[in-house]
Amino acid sequence: MANASADKGSFLNNLGRIYALYTGGFFGFIFLVGILEQLGVGQKYLGYMFMGLTILVYAFIGVVSRTSDVGEYYVAGRTVPAFYNGMATGADWMSAASFIGMAGTLFLLGYDGLAFILGWTGGYVLVAVLIAPFLRKFGAYTVPDFLAARYGGNAARLCGVLVLLACSFTYVVAQIFGTGLIAQRFLDMNFELACFIGLLGILVCSMLGGMKAVTWTQVAQYIVLIVAYLIPVVWMSAKKFGIPIPQLTYGQALQQIATLEQEFVQKGLATATAPTHTAPFTRYSPANYFWLIFCLMVGTASLPHVLMRYFTTPSVREARQSVAWSLLFIFILYFTAPAYAAFSKLEVYSTLIGKNVADLPMWVFNWGKLGLITICGKAAASAADVVAACKALPGHGGLLRLQDFVINTDVVVISTPEIAGLPYVITGLVAAGGLAAALSTADGLLLALANALSHDIYYKMINPNAPTKQRLVISRALLVVVAVLAAWTASTRPTDIVAMVAWAFSLAAGGLFPALVLGVWWKRTTKQGAIAGILAGFFVTLFYLVITRYWPHIGVQYFGMVSNLNPITGAPLISPEAMKAALSNPALLDGPVLASHPLQSRVGWFNINNISSGAFGLPVGFLVMYVVSLMTPAPSAELQRFIDEVRKPRGKTLMEEKSGTVASH
């Protein structure tokens, strides 16, 4: 054991050198693959090389970081320096949705898509100021640990676990779904098989070493994903505008887009009402835009897999610094995404729109075949299909119009290098980056889920006398069970899964935020108040989500919901006649409605979209917590002292753990 800790010391002392070497090696590898491409090696093999090598590296780190120490398994021994924890959090945070979906969303929504940029960054201010340092001082292993200590016992713990499971499980399924998609496209694998391969990639990182292994893998994954994101944009910027700083040059791209937008309208290639890229509030009404930002921010500050990263720093001080580093590393990608979207849009506008539909470039059909690009309302599988589809439209002049072209948001990032005519090595690199983003987030989520089950449910509630060794065995077993369950769910291709990720933010916000914040900042919060508040906030959010999505007719008939409004015209999305027709349709009365149903996600209270359900859950959660707390006796003097301790960085962590190593001798 003495040897192992000396190794650990030297590893931590040499982090800079190790990761610098790793980054250099990665660049060398990209260069090598580039050369192989020039020598004529097939694209499929280049794809395998990228995926295979990166996954091997992650697995290697996972195996080397194996541990049998409870403290290392749950919180990486609290030895992760602020800077590296920031990188790991960046990878933990940026999921397939950020890497693959973000630029596509901005491409599609223009200004309104920026709600995601703001919402997924500003939340870290709340994390740093209101929550993370205090949880670190307390010394929790999991978020429910803190709830249990602050709110007197296992009832509060159980509520925390409930919210955690609800928001993390759908989230992890979406990540495995993302890895499946990437593997399917680039390795030509069967989708179901690809999901389970992705699962193996995740398990090798997390199973043997828990948080310790996940931390050091996530740092490696961050480096891959950020390099993969930046290289194509920098390249495009240099190619188009001569300056390799996309964040500066995309202003010119925006101008050119605006000019093209006007030209299209003049030439009859776009309708006069087509929203322009920089015009605000064309997709979301202002209220929906701001509520969405708010829910995403508060959700960020409540998601357990993010908060638990700050349990791993050596001190409270470093926990705070670490939040700043996290945001900086996340910022690097989010700061670039709008540029990515603008370049991509400019490329599509200048090379496609206004061209004869009979001679479109090859890449359109590559994605059209998968149903991810549609032209004139049909999947653009081949040149003949496109011509036929456009001919069938009345009054189509044979030139591609803006409204004819629809691209799936997930395709934008992956296809842009190809569209812009960059070599295939860049496309392979982007795929490896997307994989790193999905795997790293899945690692964090799985750990959060399995830890809640093994630490909170099994150890704290079922068998508090379990020996350390047994706890770790149970943790690992549960990790595998949860992972297999998630992979199985993903392999059934649940269509709603992407939408559900956005739900996780509202659920976490409504369920956990009031209890975490008031637990530190308002001593008067009582056990009863917290439990009532968590349940009220969580269930109000869940109710709004589920009713508006699956039972909108029930919402209209029994809960006073009405049609949401068109953000531009202010008219109801569903006219009174259409509403009547939908409600009198007997087919509606058989259970939940399908995604294609006219009412789904288009009714609600106060014109609030269901993606922002936290707008209802969060205020209710706070209010209930406040009122019930005032109605019940104040917390004991002992608990008040406990809160004072949590507020002061100095001193030992409050949750003491017999952190013995197992089988070390």
Partner: protein, 84 residues
């Protein structure tokens, strides 16, 4: 609660309120004027669009590094900071 602890918490609280004020300003308030700001163009960027796509998030990053320093200074002043 000793007076020192009380003062430490009071200072911590004011810093928190300041941070929340800045957060609300750059998350919401400034973007309410996006239409007016978009009339101003800098290097091709409409200013309202720029604030949402780059401006606010840059400020968040700076805010957090500053906050980590400022809170640490308060902690040290009242002797509740951790040993280095």
């Amino acid at each position: 609660m000793t007076p020192d602890t009380e003062q430490h918490w009071a200072r911590t609280k004011s810093l928190m309120l300041l941070m929340m004020g800045l957060w609300a300003f750059f998350s919401f308030f400034i973007h309410m004027f996006v239409v007016q700001l978009n009339a101003i163009k800098i290097a091709g960027f409409p200013l309202g669009f720029y604030m949402a796509s780059q401006g606010s998030i840059t400020i968040f990053v700076i805010m957090l590094f500053w906050f980590a320093k400022a809170q640490d200074k308060i902690d040290r002043e009242f002797g509740v900071a951790e040993d280095d």
